[in-house]
């Protein structure tokens, strides 16, 4: 089973490498959305500092969703998804590996770029570590939630708009605690509580989301 999963992850990463331009779109989107806020509001340093945690988090959330929509699309269209369903490896684990591979290519660049965006938004540099750890814990939970939405809408023509509508309400708790952790760190407070809650949600997502993703893939393949 390990070999099958490694092969699967390797395939996903290789595919992503061959379509580098497409894969970097979420990261570009993340940078652009964050840049719009100082332009749209005002470039005052204090204002930027106070909205920085929320802006970075909302931008990361939206950018993550942009990348998620195509998570199962290619495999659905060329029939590989059906082959994966037939494999002896449980579909839940396959789904988890797929989400992980996808997060490495789309989520991780966002986390790595976050300190840069923090600098743009005048986020205090000594709190940058907590911003990154909040995103590290939160974006993977968001990827798991997004994968449920992507699997539910993969067979639909209008999935582009529908998927965010399904996923965004569910993403609220992650956004609240993620932005809270970043804001507390920026004020010099201890963000441990919010970070623990983010970690708890990640554990819950890791345990339950694969089952929902697998069920959703089955529904989509039957239609």
């Amino acid at each position: 089973m390990t070999r099958a999963l490694l092969a699967l992850a390797g395939r996903d990463l290789r595919l992503a490498y061959r379509r580098r331009g497409e894969v970097l779109t979420p990261a570009m989107f993340f940078i652009l959305v964050t840049t719009l806020f100082p332009l749209g509001l005002s470039p005052q340093q204090e204002l930027l500092r106070s909205i920085a945690p929320g802006v970075v988090w909302v931008a990361a959330l939206l950018a993550g969703l942009i990348g998620q929509e195509s998570l199962f699309k290619g495999d659905f269209e060329d029939g590989s998804l059906e082959q994966l369903l037939l494999s002896p490896v449980p579909l839940q684990i396959i789904a988890l590996v797929r989400v992980l591979a996808h997060w490495i290519v789309t989520g991780l660049p966002i986390v790595i770029l976050a300190p840069l965006m923090g600098l743009f938004m005048n986020y205090p540099s000594d709190a940058m570590g907590d911003l990154v750890s909040s995103l590290l814990l939160g974006t993977f939970t968001l990827s798991l939630l997004g994968a449920v939405g992507a699997a539910l809408t993969v067979g639909l023509r209008q999935s582009g708009m529908l998927m965010p509508i399904l996923v965004l309400p569910l993403a609220v708790p992650v956004l609240i605690f993620g932005a809270q952790a970043a804001a507390q760190a920026a004020r010099g407070e201890d963000p441990a509580g919010a970070l623990y809650l983010l970690a708890a949600m990640l554990v819950l997502g890791l345990t339950l989301a694969p089952f929902a993703i697998a069920a959703a893939i089955r529904v989509s393949l039957e239609s």
């Binding site: 449920v148 809408t153 209008q158 509508i165 399904l166 309400p169 569910l170 609220v172 039957e222 239609s223």
Partner: protein
């Protein structure tokens, strides 16, 4: 134990039977709802005294609390129906969930509207990003997402099951959403105790409120029965019983 003691239950898998039962029950629910709501409105608008602090403004509670309660109860019903539909592959359970979703969305909307109308004189603003308002708003989004996903599928069977998966994901998430917004920000009052020595509400106000809750729940049941009938007719439009029933 008689092994056929559950036989009555299986009839609920048959659309014509459920169509008939729903048709029989709907008028009873509707009349009971009318009586209960009439009693509740009389008690609430005439015979109970104005609140010492809020004056007559508090009377919106007689719509607000039942709607808010039904908005959550209906999501629970939808989630249970979805689980039953997914586990036992019972098409009728999916029909119940689909019939309930717009009702739940309407009650959620009503709770939000009455809440914000109540908030204006009492809190001085129509909308605050308070925990309960926010979680109610997100509940509305969850309903709308369910309805949108269900409509997006051309094949109703897949739409049913996709919606059911979403409803179950939502029901796991709802408590998390609720507590996250509670810890985030709260202006709304806590729960009020209705009964017992430490009751925080006068009996003359509690009784009409309970009558309204009962009445609006019955109204919900009547609407659900009618919607379920319509849903079954639409789904079974090619069956002979549906043609006869629609004639």
């Amino acid at each position: 134990m008689d092994k056929y003691s559950w036989a009555w239950f299986h009839r609920f898998a048959s659309p014509p039977y459920v169509y008939r039962v729903a048709g029989l029950l709907a008028p009873w629910f509707a009349w009971a709802a009318a009586l209960s709501i009439a009693a509740g409105l009389y008690g609430g608008l005439w015979s109970s005294p104005p609140d010492y602090q809020q004056g007559d403004g508090f009377r919106i509670i007689y719509i607000h609390v039942p709607s808010a309660y039904l908005s959550m109860m209906c999501y629970g019903l939808m989630a249970v129906a979805s689980a039953v539909g997914l586990i036992w592959r019972l098409k009728l359970a999916h029909a119940v969930a689909v019939a309930a979703a717009p009702l739940g969305a309407s009650f959620t909307f009503l709770a939000l509207i009455t809440g914000s109308l109540w908030g204006k004189p009492m809190w001085g603003t129509y909308w605050v990003w308070d925990a309960r308002l926010t979680s109610e708003l997100i509940l509305l989004f969850l309903y709308l997402g369910f309805i949108a996903l269900n409509n997006a599928y051309e094949d109703p069977r897949s739409g049913d099951r996709a919606g059911a998966v979403l409803a179950l994901v939502g029901v796991v998430n709802l408590p998390i959403i609720h507590y996250s917004v509670v810890w985030w920000n709260s202006l709304h009052q806590g729960s009020t105790k209705f009964f017992g020595d430490s009751a925080q509400m006068a009996t003359s106000m509690v009784v009409p409120l309970l009558a309204m809750i009962l009445g609006i729940t019955l109204l919900f049941a009547a609407c659900l029965a009618k919607r379920l009938q319509a849903e079954l007719l639409a789904r079974e439009s090619s069956a002979s019983w549906a043609e006869e029933a629609a004639r």
